[in-house]
Amino acid sequence: MMTNPTGRLTQGQFSFLADLTDDEIALQVEYGLGRGFAWSVEYTDDPHPRNTYWEMFGMPMFDLKDAAGVLMELRQCRQAFPRHYIRLVAFDSTRGVESVAMSFIVNRPPVEPGFGLVRQEAEGRSIRYTITSYAAVHPEAERYPR
């Protein structure tokens, strides 16, 4: 689609910016820790704007004081899933529930094929539209080959 010529998944914060460097990620994590958020690492290989529940890579990290701990976990996730989407999620517990306060993608597959528009003809001449990812055409382990 010409609205997203690079095909990047623009989900979460900073997704329209260039990829964050490790130092920038550490800065964001420090900001979250300063506000008392608990960080968690999640990954998926199924890109879609409506895919909000990704796989958890370990439990959310409560009681952490420094960004180095979160980055340690992130490095491990990158090692395990180098070609998946990986994101960092921050949970805020101030209102008695863990609500997501921050969420940004920190790792992307090398090539993102992008999305296509699917039209479905319904009764009469009305059309229902949806978006599908070209990556999800392939089975799970073969979506982002080297």
């Binding site: 460097t21 130092d23 920038e24 004081k65 420094d66 960004a67």
Partner: protein
């Protein structure tokens, strides 16, 4: 990855290194640096708060001096690499290893060597799991919590149990070694334990010994230092020695040191607690007397001489 358009603290940028800041006055002498940083304050506080412990104070003074000199080097454009700060505290029980480790976290934070300055105190059970696959996540959890501060491992030699082949302590040691080497800037590890057992532990793990840069031995306190510690403990609890109390306690110490199982400052604390109990019992008897502030805060000679230590026959003092 494209370089960012703004500056990030901690990331080296070519422009910042090339253009020297000419307007801000940079420190060139030690006193100027001391005026800006907290190094001098930290040293004075340490000297005031801890009794004795000369090797510890010397080492901390050296680290503080290195920080000051490093700042001068950076001001001149020279490189200044963070030194390895992992430490090993050995000594008999009650010599202040845990107390100093708690303070070390605060000291290193105020000197600027650790980012957050919190202390995570663990023993073997917090690092080693009970079944295969349990140890690594457990150790990593602890390490993540300690990042940015100090990890204090008490009785570190229990990690290594060569006689039990189903023991997972070795795995924890290996993870520790890796993090101690690769993430020196993020974490400081302090091991503590009794001297002979720590020596055996280091002999079996040469990798651990080479990563620990500062081996600090905590000597036993001499009697005068113990008396000073006792007075400070009493002062902290709003007590003081009464007439003859100080002398009585000095005699008590002379006898107690020769008895077995003497645990330095901890024994002193126990002895003072028992003296408080005796004082309370003594004051309890006088039901109708109005107890003044002085009555309630004085530890008398009788409270100390009632100890069992005075009843056993004295051994002649060692030459």
């Amino acid at each position: 990855m494209p370089s960012p358009l703004y500056s990030i603290p901690g990331a080296p940028t070519a422009e910042a290194a090339a253009a020297p800041v000419a307007d801000a006055p940079v420190a060139r002498t030690v006193n100027e640096v001391l005026a800006e940083s907290q190094a001098g304050l930290v040293m004075d506080e340490l000297d005031a708060a801890l009794v004795g412990l000369a090797p510890v104070k010397t080492r901390v003074r050296e680290i503080a001096a290195l920080l000051v000199i490093d700042k001068l080097r950076v001001n001149l454009g020279l490189r200044a690499e963070t030194p390895s700060l992992h430490m090993s505290f050995t000594g008999n029980p009650g010599t202040g290893k845990t107390t100093v480790a708690l303070r070390m976290a605060e000291i290193l934070h105020r000197l600027g060597y650790v980012r957050k300055g919190h202390l995570v105190a663990v023993t073997r059970d917090d690092l080693v799991g009970q079944y295969i696959g349990h140890t690594a996540p457990k150790t990593r959890e602890v390490l993540k919590k300690a990042m940015g501060g100090v990890l204090f491992i008490d009785e570190a030699y229990y990690l290594f149990r060569p006689e039990n082949e189903r023991d997972y302590g070795q795995e924890a040691i290996e993870i520790l070694l890796q993090v101690m080497e690769n993430q020196r800037d993020d974490l400081v590890v302090i091991l503590a334990g009794y001297k002979d057992r720590m020596e055996t532990f280091f002999q079996s793990n040469p990798g651990m010994r080479s990563r620990v840069a500062h081996h600090v031995d905590f000597p036993d306190y001499p009697a005068d230092d113990l008396l000073l510690i006792a007075e400070r403990m009493l002062e902290r609890q709003d007590y003081h020695f009464g007439a003859g109390g100080r002398e009585a306690f000095r005699e008590y110490l002379a006898r107690r040191i020769q008895q077995p199982q003497f645990a330095n400052a901890r024994s002193v604390r126990n002895a003072l607690d028992r003296a408080r109990l005796r004082q309370a019992r003594r004051l309890f008897e006088e039901r109708d007397r109005e107890l003044s502030r002085d009555d309630l805060t004085t530890i008398d000679a009788r409270d100390i001489r009632a100890s069992r230590v005075f009843q056993s026959p004295t051994t002649p003092p060692a030459a």
